[in-house]
C-alpha cells in the first residue's frame, strides 16, 4: 500500500489532467445539450487542434499560450462549417445516423493525418515545459497547473456566454424548445452550427493548454474520446458543472488506477465506470440540465 507521499501527488496530477479532460468534455456536453447529438469526431478534432498549435509553434515560433487567440477561433469556424455542411444534414430522423457520420468524420480525419504526418509522436519545446510548482509536497509541472487554471476560466467564460448573452439565450431556447424557438424566429441551423462551433472551439483551447505538457500524434484523440464520453455521461448529458466535476473525478480515478493497477489496466477503470454509469444512471450523477 503506497503511502500518502505517493498518493497525494498522484491525486493532484490526476486533478490537473482531469481539468483538461473536463475542457474536452465541456465541448462535448455543450454539443449534446443543444443538438442532442453525440459527436464521435470530438477526439479527432482535438487532434486537429493539437496539430495546429504544434505547427504554429514549430513553423512560426508562436507560443502555445499566444495561440489561444488563433486556434480556438479557427476551430470554431471549422466546427461551424462541419455542422452546417455535413452533420446537420445527416440525421434522416435517427440519432444513430449522426453518430455514424461523426464516426466517419473521425475515421477520415484520423487516417488523413496518419497519411500526412505518419504515426510519429511530436512534442514542442518551450522554456517552461519542465518548470515545476511545489504544492502540498508534490511537484507539479507548470504547464499542467496553467492548464488547470485555464480550464476553470474557460468553463466560467462559457457559463457567462450561455447565461448572459443573446447567443446564449438563443442556444438555451433552442435546446429546451426547438419548435418554439423556431417559431419566434431563431435561425435554428445557424444557432446549431454556432453551438457546434463553440464546442469545437473548446477543443482549440484544450489543445493550446495541453500541448506544452503533452504530445500530438494522429491517434492522440482516440484516448480522449471515450474518456470525454465517460465524463459527459457521468456528469449528466448537457451539464457544465457535471462535466467539470466528472472530468476531475475521471482524472483522479485514472491516476490512482494507474498507480495501483499499472497504466494499462488503470484505463479499464474508466471504461468500467462508463459502462456502469450508462447502465445504472443514463441521466448521469447530477441529472439532466443544459
Amino acid at each position: 500500500m503506497p503511502d500518502l507521499a505517493i498518493i497525494i501527488p498522484s491525486v493532484l496530477n490526476g486533478l490537473t489532467t482531469g481539468a483538461l479532460y473536463a475542457l474536452v468534455a465541456l465541448g462535448l456536453t455543450l454539443i449534446y445539450g443543444v443538438l442532442h447529438i453525440i459527436n464521435f469526431a470530438h477526439g479527432a478534432l482535438l487532434m486537429v487542434g493539437l496539430y495546429a498549435v504544434y505547427f504554429l509553434n514549430v513553423q512560426l515560433g508562436i507560443d502555445p499560450y499566444v495561440a489561444l487567440f488563433i486556434v480556438p477561433p479557427l476551430m470554431f469556424a471549422l466546427g461551424y462549417a462541419l455542422q452546417r455542411g455535413i452533420i446537420g444534414k445527416a440525421s434522416h430522423g435517427r440519432d444513430e445516423n449522426i453518430l455514424l457520420v461523426t464516426l466517419g468524420l473521425s475515421i477520415v480525419i484520423e487516417n488523413l493525418s496518419l497519411f500526412v504526418f505518419k504515426s510519429d509522436t511530436r512534442a514542442i519545446d518551450t522554456p517552461y515545459s519542465f518548470e515545476v510548482v511545489e504544492f502540498l509536497g508534490a511537484f507539479l509541472p507548470l504547464p499542467k497547473v496553467i492548464a488547470f487554471a485555464g480550464a476553470l476560466v474557460t468553463a466560467a467564460l462559457l457559463w457567462l456566454l450561455m447565461s448572459r448573452t443573446d447567443l446564449g439565450k438563443a442556444i438555451r431556447a433552442l435546446a429546451k424548445e426547438p419548435k418554439g424557438a423556431k417559431l419566434v424566429g431563431i435561425n435554428a441551423e445557424h444557432v446549431f452550427a454556432m453551438s457546434f462551433g463553440l464546442g469545437i472551439a473548446c477543443l482549440g483551447v484544450a489543445a493550446c493548454l495541453l500541448l506544452p505538457s503533452y504530445y500530438v500524434s494522429p491517434q492522440v484523440g482516440h484516448g480522449f474520446v471515450l474518456i470525454a464520453f465517460t465524463i459527459v455521461v457521468l456528469g449528466g448529458m448537457g451539464s457544465f458543472v457535471g462535466a467539470l466535476i466528472g472530468g476531475l473525478i475521471i482524472g483522479v480515478v485514472e491516476a490512482l488506477g494507474g498507480l495501483f493497477l499499472g497504466e494499462s489496466l488503470g484505463q479499464i477503470g474508466i471504461f468500467l465506470i462508463f459502462i456502469l454509469v450508462l447502465i445504472s444512471r443514463p441521466t448521469g450523477l447530477l441529472g439532466h440540465k443544459v
Partner: protein, 327 residues
C-alpha cells in the same frame, strides 16, 4: 422460397470459384469478400434487422479469434474444437453485453457507445494479460493440414469461409421468414408498439445479439486461422467494428443480400484505391470513412435500396434502413 432459391444460386456460383480460378491472388480476393460479407451479415442481424447499432462488434470477433488462438497455443487444443469454442465464447460475450444493455433499456446512441466501451475493455484486457501474448500478440504455429484447420492451398480456406458465410446467410433468410424475425423487426420499428402486442422485446433482442455475436466470432476464428497472427489492435480494435457496420450500410441494412453487395462494393473500392493512390497506411480507412459519410447522407438505404428504387419493387426483404421514424 424464391429468395432461398436465389440465395442457393448465388452461393452455387460463388462455389464455382475454386474450380475456375487458378490464381491464388484472385481466390484470395473471393475469400476476403466472403469474409467481409460474413462480418457484415453478423452485424446486419442486430443492426439491420434489430435496429440496434453496435459500435463494438470487435468484442465478438476478437473473442472468437483469441479463443481459437489461445486454445491452440496455450493448451494445444485442436482448432476445429476451437472453432466451436470460439463461436460459443463469442455468444457468451454477446449474451453478457446484451443482458447488461437491453435489461436496462439502453437504446440508440447509448447502446452504440456502451458496446464500443465493452470492446475497448476487452482490447485493454487482452493487451494486459499474459495468456493472450499481451501487446506482442499471439502467433499460431504454422502446421498445415485439414486436421489443423490450416490448408496448403487457398481452396481449403475457401470452403471453410464459404460454408460459414452460407450458414450466416441462411440464418438471415430464416429471420426474414420466421416469427422471431417478424418480432425482431417489429421491435426495431417501434419497441413500445411491439411490446403492447405481446412481443417479448428483451428476449428477441437477446436472440439477435447472440446470433450476431456467433457469426462475428466465427469470422474471428477464420481470421485467426487464415492469418495465424493476432494482437489486441487487430482483434479488438476499431477497424473490425467499423468494417462490420460499413458493409451492410453500403449494401443495404436489413436486407438479405445487402452484406454481400456491400462486401463486393467495399472490395472494389479498396482495390481501386490501391490502384490509383497506392498503398499508404490509413488511406483505405480514409476511403471507408468518406463512404460511410456519403452513404448516410445520400443513400441511407444502401445499394439494395438503390436497386429496389431502380426496379421499383422490393429487393430482398424490406429495407427499412436508416430513414426510420422516431415517433
Amino acid at each position: 422460397m424464391r429468395q432461398l432459391a436465389l440465395l442457393g444460386l448465388v452461393f452455387a456460383i460463388i462455389g464455382l470459384a475454386p474450380f475456375v480460378i487458378s490464381s491464388d491472388f484472385t481466390l484470395n480476393a473471393v475469400i476476403m469478400i466472403l469474409y467481409a460479407a460474413l462480418v457484415g451479415q453478423a452485424w446486419n442481424i442486430l443492426g439491420g434487422y434489430g435496429g440496434q447499432f453496435s459500435f463494438g462488434h470487435a468484442a465478438y470477433f476478437g473473442t472468437g479469434a483469441y479463443t481459437v488462438a489461445v486454445l491452440q497455443v496455450q493448451l494445444g487444443i485442436n482448432p476445429w474444437l476451437g472453432l466451436i469454442a470460439g463461436g460459443a465464447m463469442a455468444v457468451l460475450v454477446a449474451a453478457i453485453i446484451g443482458f447488461s444493455t437491453f435489461r436496462y433499456g439502453l437504446r440508440g446512441s447509448y447502446f452504440a457507445l456502451v458496446t464500443l466501451a465493452f470492446a475497448e475493455v476487452l482490447r485493454i484486457l487482452s493487451n494486459s494479460v499474459p495468456f493472450t501474448g499481451a501487446g506482442v500478440g499471439i502467433l499460431i504455429p504454422l502446421d498445415q493440414g485439414p486436421a489443423n484447420l490450416q490448408f496448403v492451398t487457398k481452396q481449403g480456406f475457401f470452403w471453410v469461409i464459404w460454408l460459414i458465410t452460407l450458414a450466416a446467410f441462411v440464418t438471415v433468410w430464416w429471420i426474414g421468414q420466421s416469427r422471431f424475425g417478424a418480432q425482431l423487426m417489429a421491435v426495431r420499428d417501434n419497441e413500445d408498439a411491439a411490446r403492447a402486442l405481446g412481443v417479448e422485446a428483451f428476449r428477441v433482442k437477446m436472440g439477435a445479439i447472440m446470433l450476431s455475436g456467433l457469426f462475428s466470432g466465427l469470422a474471428g476464428v477464420f481470421y485467426a486461422q487464415y492469418f495465424l497472427y493476432l494482437d489486441p489492435y487487430i482483434a479488438y480494435g476499431p477497424a473490425v467494428s467499423v468494417e462490420s457496420l460499413l458493409v451492410p450500410i453500403i449494401g443495404g441494412l436489413g436486407t438479405l443480400f445487402g452484406p454481400l453487395l456491400g462486401a463486393l462494393g467495399l472490395h472494389v473500392i479498396s482495390e481501386l484505391t490501391r490502384e490509383f493512390i497506392g498503398e499508404f497506411p490509413g488511406i483505405s480507412l480514409v476511403i471507408y470513412g468518406i463512404i460511410l459519410i456519403a452513404m448516410v447522407l445520400f443513400m441511407p438505404r444502401g445499394l439494395a435500396g438503390l436497386a429496389s428504387r431502380l426496379r421499383a419493387r422490393p429487393f430482398g426483404t424490406r429495407a427499412k434502413a436508416a430513414e426510420g421514424s422516431h415517433a
